[in-house]
Symmetry: C2
Subunit: 238 residues, 2 copies
């Protein structure tokens, strides 16, 4: 048994519901491992072994100890849930895509925690937005990309089937944190000699909605624009 | 706090994954109130106060006591979860649709348990399908409709936002059971003088996927055909 827990939806983010609506303390009740972003779509969040790290819009990494800090969106799971070992002799996003097709996991939520030495890593992070919040596509113009060669670190990523596009970004969504805690972000691409870690196949997808949040209740989901919007905002990770 | 628990997806049913993949015993761990169908898309299921009823393809109602009976799809919740009283001076599907818009619940999963006297009730039920399973649209040709006037009973229904179309049928999905346990099914329409009961607004949507089921793992989700397919198979309830 394994459960992946998600707070809010990508459609809410696309509907400019970017205010934090769950605390890290609440989130940590549902997992010790995960990814997300902070109030105002402020940078990128990664949770490793119960510790939370914040990559700001300038690419700087901060260890977060204030558990009252809030998130508008996040995905977490417990690393001790049922899982299996996986390794790749070489690693890039294509191998992670193959992992899903090789094991017939197209219809299932999965997660990975992979460690290795990376020849190259390319990430992005966005600066905090203020109210009135911009759209995700406007934010793509302010976010910055960062690259690093020869870096050791951990990838934490979740795979979601295409069926759930809009609730979440379908396909892989992966964050990185270097072992020396100086580099990380939302992964755009990477190249590794060897990668090893854990694959968790989730039989439970638990979606928590901020039903008391006025902006969440009021946001309009543009179903027609959803698919194109997701592609534009998330970009390709292949 | 309230949680709605769903086993499998409408997309899986549309992909002909109609075999039972959870027992009633498993389902009852997650709720005492709910709706669904049985192995082979066999009739309609309604769970009231922890008791399970099966409406067969001929419109007959059976009290189910074998908790090893399986379901390919079901939605349940605990009636004791946080809820609020609701009542309508007149009742039809339009009032249930208004309930959602009046209370700004378009982005949220909700459930109702409503009791009343119905001037008219129209339901449907489908006979069990055998392998190789037909498509949902083929099954619409074998299902039968049943009508009754002046009947007392209970409606159990779930509302899902449009965002989740395909994971579940968006909008209301409602089953009926008469108080004398002789009539019921998947509700196509009704007319009541007065309806009263409970509205539950769920902050947790828990989706359980039969990840060890070969047919579930292998089914292909036709994303393009999904929306039209749902409309054709579920029909209008307005």
């Amino acid at each position: 048994m394994a459960t992946v827990y998600q707070h809010s939806t990508l459609a809410a983010l696309m509907g400019k519901v970017l205010g934090g609506s769950a605390t890290l303390a609440e989130l940590k009740q549902h997992g010790d491992t995960g990814i997300g972003t902070f109030d105002g779509l402020d940078g990128e969040m990664i949770m490793v072994d119960g510790e939370v790290y914040y990559m700001d819009g300038e690419g700087q990494i901060h260890h977060v100890t204030d558990m009252e800090k809030t998130v508008p969106f996040a995905t977490v799971h417990h690393i001790d849930d049922e899982k299996q070992k996986v390794s790749f002799s070489a690693g890039d996003m294509k191998e992670m895509v193959s992992l899903i097709s090789d094991r017939q996991l197209e219809n299932t939520f999965s997660g990975v925690v992979l460690r290795g030495s990376f020849n190259h890593m390319k990430v992005r992070s966005a600066p905090k937005s203020e109210r009135p919040f911009p759209s995700l596509s406007e934010i793509t113009h302010t976010q910055r990309e960062f690259e690093k060669n020869d870096v050791d670190g951990v990838l934490i990523g979740y795979y979601s089937p295409e069926l759930y596009q809009g609730t979440v970004a379908a396909g892989w969504h992966v964050h990185f944190l270097s072992d020396d805690r100086t580099f990380g972000g939302h992964v755009l691409g990477f190249d590794a000699n060897e990668l090893a870690g854990d694959l968790t196949i989730f039989d439970n997808y638990e979606l928590h909605l901020p039903i008391h949040d006025k902006e969440f209740r009021e946001h309009h989901v543009d179903m027609d624009g959803l698919k194109e919007g997701v592609a534009a905002a998330e970009g390709s990770q292949d």
